[in-house]
């Protein structure tokens, strides 16, 4: 039986091609597949490399004489056959295959590293938002969006958090610009409410009190349960009153003001907000929150409400 093997034999005679004839029980097979191999490398083979003298290569059958040959398991093997066998069991194409796979793994880790960094930033941004740290959430989400600029959702979320952060810092006009860039967000984000809040603030900042009134009324339609919803309309009417002096506007403001007070008359935020509205109605002056806080560090109580 021939000791040499070839790829053709591989395809046609599985296991019949081994360079040596293996004694049954001296070897094991490990293979992928569903069925038992159709041929057995040791079947009907009486010629056994194990019984060859130590100076005869079990693979090429050459008797080298002199010193005994190195052994592969129990089989003497010459240097040439060992080199050939090494090449056969771990051929160049398999080495290249694994080198390619390893390169691909390393490359993909570096190539996709930015996605991992963005993922971590998104997680931390969401955690920060849950902890009501909007500034941190906006910073991290913007960072994530910069890492993956092709992700449109991420850009919208970054603008969403940035908008909320700006809104909380009374930068309503800038917040409105940020909210304009995240119009594709699902309703669960309540973007409409935030846009109206930003419009209210922007109208106030730009002294466009008609816009302030329109937005606050639209916001009130969305949520009539909050005292701030009613208070905002009262505030807008108070601004218009301070601007024009028309008494009807003052009456409208007081109407909404009383509805707001009926819903919440106890919280510190509400008291401070009501104080500003009443000051506006009493003095016809529109001052910023900072100015108001400075002027009335202990809050403002209207003579008309006493």
């Amino acid at each position: 039986m021939a000791f040499t093997s070839s790829k053709v034999q591989h395809k046609t005679q599985p296991f019949a091609h081994s360079a040596i004839h293996l004694r049954a029980g001296s070897y094991r097979l490990c293979y992928s597949g569903e069925m038992e191999p159709s041929d057995n490398p040791a079947s009907g083979n009486e010629e056994n490399g194990e019984h060859l003298p130590g100076t005869t290569c079990a693979f090429c059958k050459t008797d080298f004489g002199g010193a005994p040959l190195e052994k592969l398991s129990v089989y003497p093997i010459c240097e040439t056959c060992k080199t050939e066998l090494d090449k056969k069991i771990f051929p160049l194409w398999v080495k290249l295959f694994f080198a390619g796979v390893m390169l691909l793994v390393v490359f993909s880790i570096f190539f996709n590293g930015r996605f991992y960094a963005a993922y971590m930033n998104v997680k931390q941004a969401n955690a920060a938002y849950t902890e009501k740290n909007v500034a941190k959430a906006a910073y991290l989400m913007t960072k994530a969006s910069n890492e993956v600029p092709e992700a449109a959702d991420l850009a919208m979320l970054a603008n969403f958090f940035t908008g909320i952060d700006l809104l909380s810092k009374d930068k309503s006009t800038e917040a409105l610009t940020a909210f304009d860039k995240c119009q594709g967000l699902p309703p669960a984000f309540h973007l409409n409410e935030l846009v109206l809040q930003a419009e209210m603030g922007s109208g106030y900042d730009k002294k466009d009190y008609k816009l302030f009134l329109t937005s606050s009324k639209a916001f009130l339609q969305l949520d009539t349960t909050q005292s701030m919803s009613w208070g905002s309309v009262a505030s807008a009417y108070a601004c218009l009153y301070a601007q024009s002096g028309a008494d009807s506007l003052k009456q409208q403001s007081l109407k909404y003001f009383n509805r707001a007070k009926a819903l919440n008359d106890t919280s510190a935020d509400a008291k401070e907000f009501y104080g500003r509205i009443m000051y506006r109605l009493d003095s016809k002056q529109i001052i910023s929150k900072d100015q108001f806080d400075k002027k009335f560090p202990n809050g403002y109580t209207s003579i008309n409400l006493k």
Binding site: Y27, L29, C30, E34, I89, F115, E150
Partner: protein, 174 residues
């Protein structure tokens, strides 16, 4: 019904890695290897012929080698591709190529019945010597045989997807 050979062709990297894993542990445990076929169009699609060993740990490692190597490699390849696809909805061809490669490798992680047979034959002897690993090997072998029966119902694909997609999904929750 899609024949097994066609699945093996479509997932050939897994077969190569499977056989390499056997070879790797043979080399690691200094077990002589006589022949290796990494892939061919036949059944079995790949094989490793190595010398017998009486060391049960060696037999265990050689038989179970593909399970460890293929599973780890599947995870290593799929994780970097998972985040852009599933988290950011970014369809990059490289990501899909990596997913195919990873799942293909994962699909061939579970040892064959022949591997299980090698293991159980020696486990029967070694369990008499109160070898714990030999004792543990019996349920493992049972699982391997069951899994190989379930290959008919795409258990191999399910395993590849579970490792390549399911595990990253657990690690990187939305």
């Amino acid at each position: 019904m899609i024949p097994g050979i066609l699945i093996s062709i479509l997932t050939f990297p897994g077969v190569i890695v499977h056989e390499f894993a056997h070879l790797f542990f043979c080399k690691l445990r200094k077990v002589a290897v006589f022949d290796v076929c990494y892939f061919r169009f036949g059944n079995p699609v790949g094989y490793v012929i190595h010398e017998n060993t009486t060391n049960f740990y060696t037999t265990f490692l050689i038989s179970m080698g593909p399970f460890f190597v293929n599973t780890i490699l599947c995870l290593l390849i799929c994780i970097p591709a998972y985040i852009p696809i599933n988290f950011f909805n970014i369809d990059h061809p490289l990501s899909y190529f990596l997913m195919w490669l990873g799942v293909s490798i994962g699909m061939h992680a579970v040892p064959s019945n022949q591997d299980a047979k090698n293991l159980v034959e020696q486990a029967k002897e070694k369990v008499k010597e109160r070898n714990i690993l030999a004792l543990v090997s019996f349920p493992i072998v049972g699982l391997i045989y069951t899994f190989n029966v379930l290959r008919f119902f795409w258990a191999d694909l399910a395993y590849g997807v579970a490792i390549g997609v399911g595990l990253p999904a657990l690690l990187f929750k939305q």
